[in-house]
């Protein structure tokens, strides 16, 4: 029973068996673990929204209790989905631009941002309404590109629908110590208090600056050594927030 290990037949046979074995192990594993991974992603999404509203660490909110805490602060039935122009859509846009049924929480802005098949005008813009001790706050998820990969976040607006109350940022693989610092509280603090629209209700774009003039209105100090990531946050905030301003303007009119 001597097998010639150098024969073509054995080499091919070994390769085929190896690929089938490894392939099926990985496929089974991925399928088996998928429900748990999806659950984790959902919890993470809730945790990110909560972190934009408040200091989640301080309140002791972790992955374990994010689900129940989320229900206390955010009413998902009130959440709406907007078009890029700020109109409320009844449902969500599918890839081809048709409006289909769906909830704001199910919108995956990260996937839509990457999806080249999706027209820019057919991106969904979810808006979550939170309740912070009786005060209504508005949470806007944002998505953009940093230096090495995607960056994302949630920006929380005060009840005046204008002032930034809090934010949380995340990234996939920005440089540790440089771009990755966008996650840190000191960077988020620089955004708090900024306004997204001027007195006439027009959107006011942000500027991430290097010269330390971040104290000025609509200007935010960038991170030293993390210029491209900081600029990515600027682009992300400006592109994602603009559409919401007209929605808020309409909302303000109906309130008065």
């Amino acid at each position: 029973m001597a097998i010639n290990k150098d024969s073509n037949g054995y080499t091919f046979g070994f390769a085929i068996v190896l690929v089938i074995v490894v392939g099926s192990i990985l496929a089974l594993l991925a399928m088996g673990l998928k429900p748990m991974q999806e659950k984790n992603d959902e919890v993470k999404k809730k945790l990110d929204i909560l972190s934009a509203m408040m200091d989640a660490d301080e309140k002791g909110i972790t992955r374990k209790n994010a689900d129940s805490e989320f229900e206390k602060y955010v009413d998902l039935d009130k959440a709406v989905v907007l078009s890029s122009k700020g109109d409320v859509i009844d449902g969500i846009y599918a890839v081809d631009g048709k409006v289909i049924e769906g909830r704001a929480f199910d919108v995956d802005i990260r996937k839509e941002y990457k999806d080249k098949k999706r027209d820019k005008n057919h991106r969904n813009f979810p808006l979550f309404i939170g309740d912070l001790n009786g005060e209504t706050v508005y949470i806007i998820p944002v998505i953009g590109t940093g230096l090495w990969g995607p960056i994302w976040g949630n920006i929380c607006l005060d009840s005046d629908m204008n002032t930034i109350k809090g934010a949380s940022f995340g990234h996939q693989g920005e440089t540790p110590g440089l771009g990755a610092e966008i996650k840190q509280q000191f960077f988020i603090d620089r955004w708090i208090g900024e306004k997204i629209s001027d007195n006439n209700g027009m959107f006011k774009p942000f500027q991430v600056v290097k010269d330390g003039s971040g104290i000025d209105e609509s200007k935010v100090d960038g991170i030293t050594g993390g210029t491209i990531t900081s600029k990515g946050v600027e682009e992300m905030a400006n592109r994602c927030l603009e559409g919401y301003v007209s929605y808020f303007n309409n909302l303000k009119k109906t309130r008065i």
């Binding site: 290990k5 490894v22 990985l26 673990l33």
Partner: protein, 229 residues
């Protein structure tokens, strides 16, 4: 007949024989994978900005290297030599994917930290280097020991380099500000006296310089490591 007597003569090697122990201790000092074999330099440059990342990466490499060495060693007599590199690559890649998927499901926080490293583990030349140089020619147990040794040697060096880079580059260790804070308006510690972080330390070239200094120190202390030309 003669073959059988030969087998009887050779006593079973104890699990922690001198030779096996040497497999673990050698890579820590005189045969360090990074400073002596100069393997895995690329990832040593990329992720030694913070100590924490060095530790996480080190643990991940130890795990993958030990398991991979074991698998390759078990398969060593079956792997056709013409496609052995591809087989080794398949083993590393699938191990890393398995680890990543399991972590994603059960330890999402750790998985987030590791996400950057997944690609770096697969391309780490220490892993392929040990598969090819050791596991392909040795029994499973010594291969495991070799994996532990080289993994630890790599992890140790990462932490050492990261220690200097984080301390002088960010003024912190394992994320804790040990030299004070330089956030405008909230300065304390050394920064109030005009101390500045060295931003060069954060950039990859300084990792190369630090690795170079470590190699220099190591070779000047142990002259037998210096090659003659």
């Amino acid at each position: 007949m003669s073959e059988v007597t030969e087998n009887k003569k050779a006593p079973r090697e104890p699990l922690f024989s001198k030779k096996n122990k040497k497999l673990v201790t050698d890579p820590l000092t005189d045969n360090n994978p990074v400073t002596i074999q100069v393997l895995g330099i690329c990832s040593a440059l990329a992720i030694t900005v913070q100590v924490e990342q060095g530790v996480v990466m080190g643990l991940a490499v130890i795990f993958v290297l030990v398991l991979g060495n074991l698998i390759i060693s078990l398969l060593r007599n079956m792997i056709p030599s013409r496609i052995r590199i591809i087989v080794q690559l398949v083993v590393v890649a699938s191990l890393v994917i398995v680890v990543n998927e399991v972590l994603k499901a059960f330890m999402p926080d750790v998985s987030e930290k590791l996400s950057v490293f997944v690609g770096l583990i697969i391309t780490n030349c220490i892993i392929m280097g040990r598969f090819e140089a050791f596991a392909m020619a040795n029994k499973p147990w010594p291969s495991i020991m070799d994996g532990i040794g080289n993994g630890l040697g790599y992890a140790g060096l990462l932490v050492l380099v990261a220690f200097f880079r984080e301390l002088f580059g960010s003024g912190s260790l394992y994320g804790i500000k040990v030299l004070g804070s330089n956030i405008p308006g909230e300065e304390w510690g050394l920064y109030t006296m005009g101390y500045e972080n060295n931003n060069m330390m954060i950039l990859p070239p300084m990792a190369l310089v630090i690795v170079g200094v470590i190699i220099w120190v190591q070779r000047s202390r142990n002259k037998s490591l210096i090659e003659e030309h």
